[in-house]
Amino acid sequence: MADDKPDIARWVDEGAKAIGLPIAPEYREKVIVNVERSLAIAGPLLALELDDELTPLPVYRP
């Protein structure tokens, strides 16, 4: 399923344009690495299925 993997370099280039964040060439590689890392760390959260009724707490109280 290699084709399903996102093209992170493109994600970074296009995303940065969309939000108006100039990323100088000397920073670009590290930004890509960090988006890749974020994708990996987010994995367990993204794999969860949540009930439709589960809304965020409007006022968070521990």
């Binding site: 994600w11 970074v12 995303g15 940065a16 939000i19 108006g20 964040l21 100039p22 990323i23 100088a24 920073y27 590290k30 930004v31 690495v33 960090n34 988006v35 890392r37 974020s38 760390i41 987010a42 994995g43 367990p44 959260l45 993204l46 794999a47 969860l48 949540l50 589960l54 809304t55 965020p56 707490l57 968070y60 109280r61 521990p62």
Partner: protein, 460 residues
């Protein structure tokens, strides 16, 4: 009882000595300033020293003003706390160009109202996005127990200053572990209170959803004394609770009778070096804790804390990332930039999941009162170390020192980090976790461990 002018003196010992007239506050401050001057070349804990202000304050105390339970106690604060007349660096170069603080942060004011004396601002990882204590602008804070190693961060200067005996008490902030990680690596007691318990007014934010402030010290009594002095509703922090103050000093030495204590299993029992699990076992044995509980979905909690942090932190700094990227620390810049590019759907999912996870973990507190977990997956890494081997797997140091702290602060539970140190080894911490607003119970457990000699903090 330590000499109140020595580096071993705790805040409570100093306060007792000043109150009883055995020593002048001025002498305490002079001794602290001398220790700071002597230790700084090795540990690099301070970025700002307010010597004149502290001497003036000490003279006022010696003249009979500012009575309180922390009378004459020198303390310092992570440099994201406002200090009147100084720029609030928050570990950055950029903020130095900003306005000077017009008044002290709320907790600085509260500690001074209790008689303590601010001596300076402390080094930290840039904008608190850090677990190492390293900083490209101001140099790394260095671990007093081995200056070739990290203090942990982001409250690295807070860890170094207290572990070196420069001051007995420091304040830090903890969003994902930034009090508990340096407490662990520097061998200190650290308190991350319940989310919303202490006012964050007059401190530079990082991730509003998880930002907490709290103390680091070498004794549990010092944590309790300072925590009690800092409690109370503050309309300047919308998250600050309006619950009544719950003093922890009166019950500190009540022991552990009646407390059901368990060890966190599953996620918290793997992914670390043997020393972190040995420390938990040592503490569990001293407490007679044999039960194990599982915090369900802890791995997802860590993911969600990471996502919320990355996105909120990036959003906060986006204007500066656009205009002054060259002035960021190269260890935070690209992480902030990456955070700005993560999907909003991740953020909302993480917030929705937080509600579920909170309910799941609070349910565990029907069965137990205290949960023990490692504070860090290893003892202090070497300065500059980028990767570390955890259980044979190579992982980035920066992202992983907070593996065990993130799933706890994610839902705002109170934690006391307690130090364990085997002879000849570096210290490492254990998290003593309680239900929301039960700081008193976690402090009681920590005080019991301290009294038994299981958890002892001594200056390097």
């Amino acid at each position: 009882m330590s000499d109140p002018l020595s580096k071993a003196a705790t805040a409570s010992e100093i306060a007792r000595a000043v109150m009883s007239g055995k020593v002048k506050a001025s002498a305490v401050i002079d001794a602290a300033l001398r220790r700071i001057a002597a230790a700084e070349p090795a540990v690099n804990a301070f970025t700002d020293i307010v010597a004149d202000r502290s001497r003036k304050r000490a003279a006022e105390i010696d003249a009979g003003r500012h009575l309180g339970p922390l009378m004459g106690v020198p303390f310092a604060v992570k440099n994201l706390f406002d200090i009147e007349g100084l720029a609030t660096r928050a570990g950055s170069k950029i903020n130095v160009d900003g306005p000077r603080a017009s008044r002290d942060g709320a907790l600085v004011r509260k500690l001074e109202a209790a008689g303590a004396i601010l001596v300076g601002g402390l080094n930290m990882g840039e904008y608190a996005y850090d677990f190492t204590g390293e900083n490209a602008h101001y140099g790394p804070s260095r671990n007093p127990h081995d200056p070739t190693r990290m203090t942990g961060g982001s409250s690295g200067g807070s860890g170094a200053a207290v572990a070196a005996g420069e001051v007995p008490l420091a304040l830090g902030s903890d969003t994902n572990g930034s009090i508990r990680v340096p407490a662990s690596l520097c061998g200190l007691f650290g308190l991350k209170p319940t989310y919303g318990r202490l006012s964050r007014a007059g401190s530079f934010p990082f991730v509003d959803a998880f930002d907490h402030l709290g103390p680091l010290a070498r004794s549990t009594e010092d944590l309790a004394l300072s925590f009690d002095a800092m409690q109370g509703w503050d309309p300047d922090d919308p998250v600050c609770t309006d619950r009544d103050i719950e003093s922890t000093v009166p019950t500190l030495h009540e022991g552990i009778g009646g407390l059901r204590i368990a060890v966190a299993g599953d996620y918290f029992a793997k992914g670390g070096e043997p020393e972190c699990f040995e420390a938990v076992a040592t503490v569990a044995k001293a407490l007679g804790a044999s039960k194990t509980v599982v915090l369900p979905h802890a791995a997802a909690a860590r993911s969600a804390a990471y996502v919320i942090t990355a996105i909120e932190g990036a959003q906060l700094h986006l204007p500066r990332l656009r205009t002054r990227p060259q002035d960021f620390d190269s260890d935070t810049r690209e992480r902030f930039m990456a955070g700005a590019l993560l999907p909003g759907s991740w953020y909302v999912k993480a917030q929705r999941f937080r509600r579920q996870y909170r309910a799941e973990v609070l349910k565990l507190f029907n069965e137990v009162d205290i949960i023990l977990a490692p504070a860090t997956p290893c003892s202090a890494p070497r300065l500059g170390q980028v990767m570390m081997s955890i259980g044979g797997v190579e992982l980035p140091v920066r992202a992983n020192l907070g593996l065990f702290t993130q799933p706890i602060s994610f839902i705002g539970l109170p934690v006391v980090a307690v130090p364990v140190r085997k002879s000849g080894a570096l210290p490492i911490g254990v998290q003593v976790i309680a239900r929301p607003y039960s700081e008193a119970a976690a402090l009681r457990v920590a005080a019991y461990l301290e009294k038994q000699g299981t958890c002892v903090s001594e200056p390097a």
